[in-house]
């Protein structure tokens, strides 16, 4: 069984680092992208088990990436954790997302969630 993969889509470098550390602490191999194009490029060739998606991602609308993941059969088993500062915006996408974490997001919160998800794979 190959290592479990996670993708962090977050344009803030600090948060990107914190999310990566939390996911690694949960036992995932983590890739980070900070842009819309980077996300699509990565997802075109990788099949991560977890994606954390910042809805306020600059240059891109997180909703488009979420929509892509949900319509791509290859990514059917991918868990999407929305990370956002806007709970209301997140709620509009609640049906498509697996989890929603409202910023400020606790390191331990994400680590524990990822660790719990890890057991499913």
């Amino acid at each position: 069984m190959s290592a479990l993969q996670a993708l962090v889509i977050e344009d803030d470098r600090d948060l990107s680092l914190i999310f990566s550390q939390a996911l690694r602490a949960a036992g995932f191999e983590v890739e980070t992208v900070g842009s819309n194009s980077g996300a699509f490029t990565h997802l075109a060739q990788a099949t991560p088990q977890i994606v954390t998606l910042d809805l306020h991602l600059q240059q891109a609308r997180g909703a488009e990436i979420l929509h892509y993941i949900r319509t791509e059969p290859r990514l059917a088993r991918t868990n999407v954790i929305l990370t956002t500062a806007d709970s209301a915006l997140a709620e509009t996408l609640e049906d498509q997302a697996d989890y929603i974490l409202i910023k400020p997001i606790s390191f331990t919160q994400l680590r524990d969630l990822a660790a719990r998800l890890r057991t499913q794979f």
Partner: protein, 724 residues
């Protein structure tokens, strides 16, 4: 035709008809009576003439008797002594006795002596040859000779009628035997008739049956019979004739005797009739005039006066006047009834005027332009406000149409509205109509209601035009202000959202790094480093919630907060709350107790996130204001449709005067607490707003020093998605 003329005509007609009927009847009866009287009179005169004729014959008979029953004659029949003839039958004897003929016949029928005499010429004339045949022609003439009797009558001879008397020749003492017969005759000629006329004082004429009769005599002769021996024949207005037959000795009609009479009776009758007619006409005129006068005085004059009075009341419309006609008859009663009717009318009019005053007062008190129009669009009445706007008096407005006041286009528009109302019977509303130009323009809202009569027929309309200029202007200003406020709110929301986002990211970073440090990601920590790092984490969480509150408040203000109902488990809610609050509780050394009553369903419908937010907010609050003891969370059913979540602390409590304020935005529960707790005071305000939005309520029960209990009551199954 006036009543007077009709009455006069009726009186005149009645009189004339009465008169004519009476006159005709009178004339018929009187004329008949006079005619009968005249007839009787004429018949009496004819009879008198006949009697005269009979007397004449009687006289003739007496003369014949004087000569026949005489010894000289008796002896002569024996002796045939011519002296006897000479002595006894000279011309003087004929003339004195008015004899036309004397004949003596013996017992064998042989004529012994015959002498004829012309009474006019007073001389002897030859005996007509017919005389010798007399005995032959009239054998009856001999009978007297044989039976000792006399015979008298008329004998028709070719020369004319002859009165004859035949007497048996006897002795002077009247004994026989008969020696023959003596016949004396008198010609019934003009002189004889004249003689008779003179004696009877009658205009007589006698015409032999054989002679040619004039037409009226012929007509009369045709009618004469045994049943009607005398005929009366009026010839003309002056003359009436009576006819009768004088028969000959054989009983055959021989001479038509006629009596001419002046028609005195008839004329008297006519005159009487004329007088009577004049009298009746005069009486009729008098009766007519008296009748007309009485009628005029008792009826027509009074009726005329009544008529004029009623007319005057009708023309003036002054119902307080009364009629003056008096009396106990029908006219008097009519006048009384009219007065009574006038009383009733006056009352009704007074009532109507009162109603009109009420209507006008009502109209004037309406803060709108109000008016009544008839079906043709003419104003019946308008209120003061309307009249003032038109600068007209109420009287000037009445009867006018919109074309008299407004521009043709505007009047036409109103006329179309009016027509709609009167034709359809429906209310017409024009919610907004701008009159004039800014800045002096006014805005009207008009309502036109059909006015119906008792048969539900539209007879006009009531119009109300409200001046909504101020309202409109205020609404416009309000709309502008609202738009501005909304724009400001949108700006604020956007700003808050942006600020929130921009704040959360660094808070997330601080929180994340702090936690990573605590988790030993960057190597083990010294004991004294853990406490400040924990504080940083707690403050970050607090800061995060504060930012969330700000965002929520802005969403609530903007009405953009959307609830999403779906089933959730109370158990999950409880665990999540405890997990989130446990760190804070541990740090303050407080016991965190969670209890779910057994009657709570395993699933409740609701907006989990918002319920979570509310309860966590209350729990955080409770932990914050509790220095020792516990914070309990109880979930229980309140009633069949509601459940309650209670957050109970053992803290300082809230003073009664502050309890009312704790739910207000930007209020801190306690001025003392404010010193210890730094915050915006949004928490409880948002709790209340969210709970209200979810269809529930928040109750507060607290005593200073005794702790505080917040109770959130929510529906078990909210009916629908509620949008603020």
């Amino acid at each position: 035709m006036s009543l007077r003329a009709k009455s006069l005509l009726a009186a005149a007609l009645t009189t004339v008809i009465l008169l004519v009927t009476f006159l005709v009847l009178t004339r018929l009866i009187l004329t008949d009576s006079y005619t009968q009287l005249e007839q009787k009179d004429t018949i009496a005169h004819v009879e008198r003439a006949v009697n005269a004729m009979t007397n004449e014959l009687a006289g003739l008979s007496r003369s014949a008797n004087d000569y026949a029953a005489w010894d000289d004659t008796y002896n002569f029949m024996e002796s045939r002594d011519p002296a006897y003839l000479e002595v006894n039958y000279p011309d003087a004897t004929f003339d004195n006795n008015r004899l036309s003929l004397v004949t003596i016949v013996d017992m064998q029928g042989k004529i012994v002596f015959a002498k004829a005499f012309d009474l006019v010429q007073k001389q002897e004339i030859p005996v007509a040859p017919e005389i010798s045949d007399l005995v032959t022609h009239h054998p009856a003439l001999l009978r007297p000779a044989q039976s000792i009797s006399t015979t008298a009558g008329i004998l028709m001879l070719p020369t004319g009628p002859l009165l004859i008397a035949v007497q048996s020749i006897l002795t002077s003492d009247g004994t026989g035997p008969t020696r023959g017969a003596l016949l004396m005759g008198r010609a019934l000629a003009a002189d004889e008739i004249a003689q008779l006329s003179e004696v009877t004082q009658l205009a007589l004429s006698a015409r032999p049956a054989s002679a040619a009769l004039p037409p009226e005599a012929q007509a009369a002769a045709a009618v004469l019979s045994a049943q009607q021996p005398i005929v009366v024949h009026p010839v003309n207005e002056q003359l009436v004739q009576g006819y009768t037959w004088l028969n000959d000795i054989d009983g055959r009609p021989a001479v038509l005797l006629s009596v001419d009479r002046a028609r005195e009776i008839y004329q008297q009758g006519q005159m009487t009739l004329s007088y009577l007619t004049l009298l009746l006409i005069g009486a009729g005129l008098v009766v007519g005039i008296v009748m007309a006068g009485l009628l005029e005085h008792t009826v027509i004059l009074r009726l005329g006066r009544l008529n004029r009075e009623v007319q005057a009341i009708g023309t003036s419309g002054d119902l307080s006047q009364r009629v003056s006609t008096q009396g106990r008859d029908e006219l008097g009663r009519l006048a009384t009834e009219i007065d009574r009717m006038l009383d009733s009318l006056e009352n009704t009019q007074r009532l109507l005027r009162q109603r009109e005053r009420e209507a006008v007062t009502l109209l004037d008190s309406i803060p709108a332009y109000a008016f009544f129009k008839d079906a043709a669009g003419r104003y019946i009445i308008a209120n003061q406000k309307f009249c003032e706007a038109l600068h007209r008096t109420r009287e000037e407005v009445a009867g006018k149409t919109d074309y008299d006041f407004y521009s043709p286009e505007r009047a036409e528009r109103y006329r179309v509205d009016d027509f709609y109302v009167t034709e359809s019977g429906e209310i017409r509303e024009v919610s907004e109509e701008t009159i004039g130009q800014e800045p002096n323009a006014i805005v009207l809202a008009t309502k036109k209601v059909p006015l119906k009569d008792e048969h539900d027929q539209v007879i006009g309309l009531i119009g109300l035009a409200f001046d909504i200029t101020d309202r409109k202007r205020a609404a416009q200003e309000l709309a502008v202000a609202r738009d501005q406020a909304l724009a400001a709110l949108r700006f604020k929301s956007q700003l808050l959202a942006n600020v929130s986002h921009d704040l959360r990211t660094p808070i997330s970073a601080i929180l994340g790094f702090s936690e990573m440090l605590l988790a030993g990601v960057y190597g083990p920590l010294q004991e004294q480093q853990i406490e400040p790092l924990t504080r940083i984490v707690m403050d970050c969480n607090q800061l995060g919630r504060l930012v969330s509150d700000l965002l929520d408040q802005s969403r609530l203000d903007a009405g953009k907060l959307v609830l999403q109902f779906k089933p959730f488990a109370p158990k999950d809610l409880m665990e999540s709350i405890k997990a989130a609050a446990s760190l804070n509780a541990q740090n303050k050394g407080l016991e965190l107790i969670g209890l779910i009553a057994p009657d709570v369903p395993s699933e409740i419908n609701g907006d989990y996130e918002r319920v979570h937010q509310v309860v966590l907010n209350l729990v955080d609050n409770a932990i914050r204001f509790t220095q020792e003891g516990s914070v309990s969370i109880h979930i229980a059913c309140r009633d069949a449709a509601h459940y309650a979540i209670q957050v109970i602390d053992t803290g300082q409590g809230i003073a009664p005067e502050e309890q009312a304020l704790v739910f207000e935005t930007f209020q801190q529960g306690s001025t003392q607490a404010a010193g210890r707790y730094k915050g915006l005071g949004l928490g409880l305000s948002i709790v209340k707003q969210l709970v209200t939005l979810m269809g529930g309520q928040v109750l507060l029960d607290s005593q200073v020093g005794q702790g505080t209990t917040f109770t959130v009551i929510l529906p078990l199954a909210p009916e629908t998605k509620i949008q603020a």
